[in-house]
Symmetry: C2
Subunit: 245 residues, 2 copies
């Protein structure tokens, strides 16, 4: 086991601190509030030292993205392993998404930044590959659920419609929801259902529309939701997830 010198430990700890400080800045004021000078100031090292860890501002954003995305992927994989019907498993992904967001309310701000081509283009190829690997493994886990559903007969797709089409629908709903909600303009909020329930309703409708059985009219998916939290994500308190907000 390679034991670390005090110096090396200092370096590791500093990197952690940089990321934490940066995350806080983005959370409070978006990309504009993130400043390399301010990071240096807050961690009490010079700017040059910060640049020893990250080659640019975008590199920091990319690192943050990868960090949180890895956790997200891990949660999705756990969701996909849920023991239940295939539709319950795909539902579990939606639940995981919600639980994740309560833990990392900053992630979507970062994701919207990081997915702008510009960010990763300014980053080392190493980090680019890491990002692609993570995203890919997330997709793969989810794709497997759809494939299973098809082979189990729970889902019959029309001629010429690929598996991932269903996935893409759920993905779009989630991204759209988070994007819309992150702009906290009251005029948009209309007379909507409270936050997460509106996304949940759309999940139900989309999956029903694709004919993924058992349909929401034949099954109590709110009960499934509670079972999913209890069994796949026991470390989460259902209260904290605020499913009704």
């Amino acid at each position: 086991m390679p034991t670390l010198t005090p110096k090396q430990r200092e370096i590791v700890g500093r990197e952690r601190k940089i990321l934490d400080v940066a995350r806080g800045m983005i959370l409070e004021g978006g990309h504009g509030a993130l400043s390399m000078d301010r990071i240096a100031e807050e961690i009490d090292y010079s700017k040059g030292t910060v640049y020893q860890h990250f080659s640019s501002k975008e590199d920091v954003v990319a690192a943050l993205f990868i960090e949180t995305c890895a956790q997200r992927t891990a949660m999705f994989q756990r969701a996909c392993a849920f023991r239940g019907t295939t539709r319950e498993r795909v539902t579990a992904i939606g639940v995981a998404d919600r639980l994740f967001v309560t833990r990392h309310p900053d992630h979507f701000r970062i994701e919207n930044l990081a997915d702008l081509d510009i960010v990763f283009s300014k980053t080392s190829t190493q980090r680019q590959e890491m990002r692609n690997r993570i995203k890919k493994s997330m997709m793969q886990a989810m794709d497997r659920v759809v494939a299973e559903a098809v082979s189990a007969g729970d889902l019959e797709l029309a001629e010429g419609v690929p598996h991932c089409q269903v996935l893409y629908g759920l993905w779009s709903l989630s991204v759209g929801h988070h994007t819309i909600r992150s702009s906290r303009d009251p005029s948009e909020q209309m007379a909507l259902l409270p936050g997460w329930l509106s996304l949940w309703q759309n999940y139900l409708a989309l999956l029903d529309g694709y004919g993924w059985t058992p349909l929401s009219t034949q099954w109590d998916y709110l009960a499934s939701r509670d079972r999913i939290v209890a069994e796949a994500f026991p470390e989460f308190d259902p209260e904290d997830a605020q499913f009704d907000r």
Copy 2:
């Protein structure tokens, strides 16, 4: 009729030019490529003059957003007036969205910028109100279609689900789609259906899932699509819309 002095005409023309130049900059390189200094340079006036038209960089973005959004709203209103079943009308909104995007490929880049709270918070209240008014009239037109569908019996919503829930689903799908596609990362593009068709499929599934009749299994909505373009948007060439890409 108030005739304009040469000076006033110059000012109006200059404002047009500023917006055009700014739009081009955002289109080519996003928010980062937009620079007040460069605008001044390109229109051959000093920076101070640019600031006579717009109070800040964000103000320019806001103006661009309002401009394009107004056109978008107008197209949606035309879509809602389409003569056909209620579901055809809501489909027409999706078609209008597509036609609009082909005309203004830069709009979603701008929308994603403009909806970040930060932008409009740095803008005059006048512009903020204008934005809210436009967004509201867009929502209202669409909401009317849903209300009609419910009262005509084409759509029955479950207990406690408000009208706009359906709208919110379509809206999320569209925003999600455009957001995902605007990050042109090949790894995400998976084995998807070509661009717009994947959004179309999800529209169909979502509306089927909400039970909006006639269902896609009972009606040829691709034929409706062509009729919609021909009747509601005759100025568009169906070729240009690239529905298959």
